[in-house]
């Protein structure tokens, strides 16, 4: 059972995807379908290749020297892998949010319109409007509307991450890839990002890598679990969120869920009372 069943409208289809780093294989024969207007979670043990898989979708892997990618990724049925594809155009349509917020050493405003201004599709006089819309969509507008021209690096890490989200959304992508977007954040900012995912998925498609299974349960409709087999990452099982978490069919997936929840309990259990102190 490799692809998500029962959902016809798949925006992204991945098939036969392989990634090699030199002689070593990182991902083997990945097959996945990602339905539109929903949140899709990628979970799995660390080192299983979740980040690499995510970066294949917008072809950011190609910026890492030494990685070779083969296989197919389709967006709306159109092939986006291989030569002859306008990669920059593809990355406008598929935004990305990283584990650590990456804000440029510029003002808040300059950060939000950073992508927009370079695409040159929006007139300069409309940038403030774009910025306001994107910041509002990222639930940051109220916090920064009076400090738009302050350096963005003065914002808190959680605000910076939402700023990065706003920056991605200012370009109006239909898909947003998120690589462990909350693992560097405090509980409150984490909650804010999770609420955003829930809100955004009504009109965009979100693919989120997370090591936090509870987070996947909270935000995702579909989930795919990667596992390592003979040192190579593979999709072990995919499905509807509720089914997969309730009754994983594959032994490795069940084992991973058990160990992950044990780990979460050992980490979060004793800390919880103090962790949410504000």
């Amino acid at each position: 059972m490799d692809s998500v069943p029962g959902k016809p409208q798949q925006i992204i289809e991945i098939s036969g995807l392989q990634v090699h780093a030199g002689p070593r294989q990182i991902l083997r024969n990945i097959k996945l379908g990602i339905p539109g207007h929903s949140a899709f979670a990628l979970v799995g043990p660390s080192g299983a290749g979740k980040s690499t898989l995510l970066r294949c979708i917008n072809r950011l892997v190609e910026l890492t020297p030494g990685l070779r990618v083969s296989g197919e990724v389709r967006l709306h049925g159109r092939l986006v892998t291989g030569p002859g594809v306008d990669v920059d155009e593809l990355r406008c349509r598929i935004g990305m949010l990283f584990q650590q917020p990456v804000v440029f050493p510029k003002s808040v405003f300059q950060n939000v319109v950073f992508g927009t201004r370079h695409h040159g599709r929006v007139h300069r006089r409309d940038w403030p409007e774009v910025a306001e819309r994107a910041l509002t969509e990222a639930s940051l507008w109220n916090e920064v509307k009076d400090r738009l021209h302050e350096p963005a690096l003065r914002l808190s890490v959680g605000q910076q991450q939402r700023l990065c989200l706003a920056r991605a959304m200012a370009v109006d992508p239909e898909v947003i890839l998120m690589d462990e977007p909350t693992s560097a954040l405090d509980p409150r900012s984490t909650e804010a990002i999770e609420e955003l995912i829930l809100r955004l998925k009504t009109h965009r498609t979100i693919v989120v890598v997370t090591h936090n299974l509870d987070q996947a349960r909270r935000v995702a409709d579909w989930v795919s679990c990667l596992c390592v087999r003979d040192g190579v990452g593979e999709v072990a099982e995919s499905g509807c969120c509720s089914d997969l978490f309730e009754k994983p069919q594959v032994g490795e997936v069940a084992a991973f869920f058990r160990s992950a929840s044990r780990y979460a309990a050992s980490v979060e259990g004793p800390v919880t009372p103090g962790a949410t102190l504000e």
């Binding site: 920059d88 990355r91 406008c92 990305m96 990456v102 440029f104 370009v171």
Partner: protein, 283 residues
């Protein structure tokens, strides 16, 4: 035993530091002591008279500034081009190392050889005669390694995440370079240039056959046969006449001005470098 050795080592290191500072202080004191009395507003704003025994060094100062600005204009675009080729476009580690090796070699070329090369190429072959432009180009070539390596180090210290974030927004490679990589590594260009110029300002060998004369030049008005006066060459020539006390005072005075220029450039470069590093880290 280990403690004694430690103390001995510390003492030795301190002695070495004291000795080098001592030499530096002696040179500075000697130059300032003899030169400062000769420096005055008139000295800086008048032109040379009586074959250097009277008057000032105005056009020497201007000439040296012209040479340095030209060197800057020559080296900056070349350094940016080489640094981008090295750090971004070249995938092969071997080629990258070769470029660095070439730069270090260029850095080791004695300045006299630059002068001879310039003499053959610009003065003779291109028939420019003595020209400010050949001097500027040669000094630009001389500081090129310093500038380029400062820039390369700066680019290498930029987090990859910036490039990925820009690419992830759909910027083309050229846009990423132009709006992310270059602005953030400009500090390397500035400090590298200042440090390079601080060294180039005092060089005589590359310009003495190619760009500078002792007296009789004002502002250049073309390329061919348009030499400039300069500070180091002034010192070089006058020093040979310095048994005459009025000339001697002018030599020391010129030395003070050159020293001030060079130290000034280094002093601007250093805090700037620290500040830009600071900014890169904290915003």
């Amino acid at each position: 035993m280990r403690k004694a050795r430690n103390i001995a080592f510390q003492t030795l290191a301190a002695l070495c530091a004291a000795a080098s500072f001592g030499v530096l202080a002696l040179i500075l004191a000697a130059i300032l002591f003899r030169g400062l009395p000769a420096v005055s507003w008139r000295f800086l704003t008048e032109q040379i008279r009586l074959v250097g025994a009277d008057g000032g060094i105005f056009f020497n100062l201007v000439g040296t500034l012209i040479l340095m600005v030209t060197a800057l204009l020559v080296s900056s675009p070349l350094a940016i081009g080489i640094a981008l080729t090295h750090s971004i476009y070249l995938q092969s580690a071997i080629l990258r190392r070769r470029i660095l090796l070439l730069l270090y070699l260029l850095n080791g070329v004695p300045s006299l050889l630059f002068g001879i090369f310039g003499f053959i190429l610009f003065v003779k072959y291109l028939g420019w005669g003595k020209s400010w432009l050949s001097g500027g180009i040669l000094l630009g070539m001389m500081i090129l390694p310093t500038v380029t390596i400062a820039l390369v180090e700066r680019i290498a210290s930029l987090p990859r995440a910036y490039t990925e974030a820009a690419a992830g927004l759909g910027l083309t490679a050229a846009q990423t370079i132009w709006s992310v990589i270059l602005p953030q590594s400009l500090g390397g260009l500035v400090t590298g240039s200042l440090l390079g110029l601080a060294r180039a300002a005092g060089e005589t060998a590359p310009i003495m056959f190619t760009a500078t004369i002792f007296a009789g030049a004002h502002l250049p008005d073309g390329i061919k046969e348009s030499p400039v006066l300069s500070l180091p060459y002034h010192i070089f020539i006058l020093a040979q006449d310095s048994f005459d006390p009025s000339v001697g005072a002018k030599v020391w005075g010129t030395a003070v001005v050159l020293l001030a220029l060079v130290c000034g450039l280094s002093l601007i470069a250093l805090p700037l470098r620290l500040r830009i590093h600071e900014e890169a880290r904290n915003g």
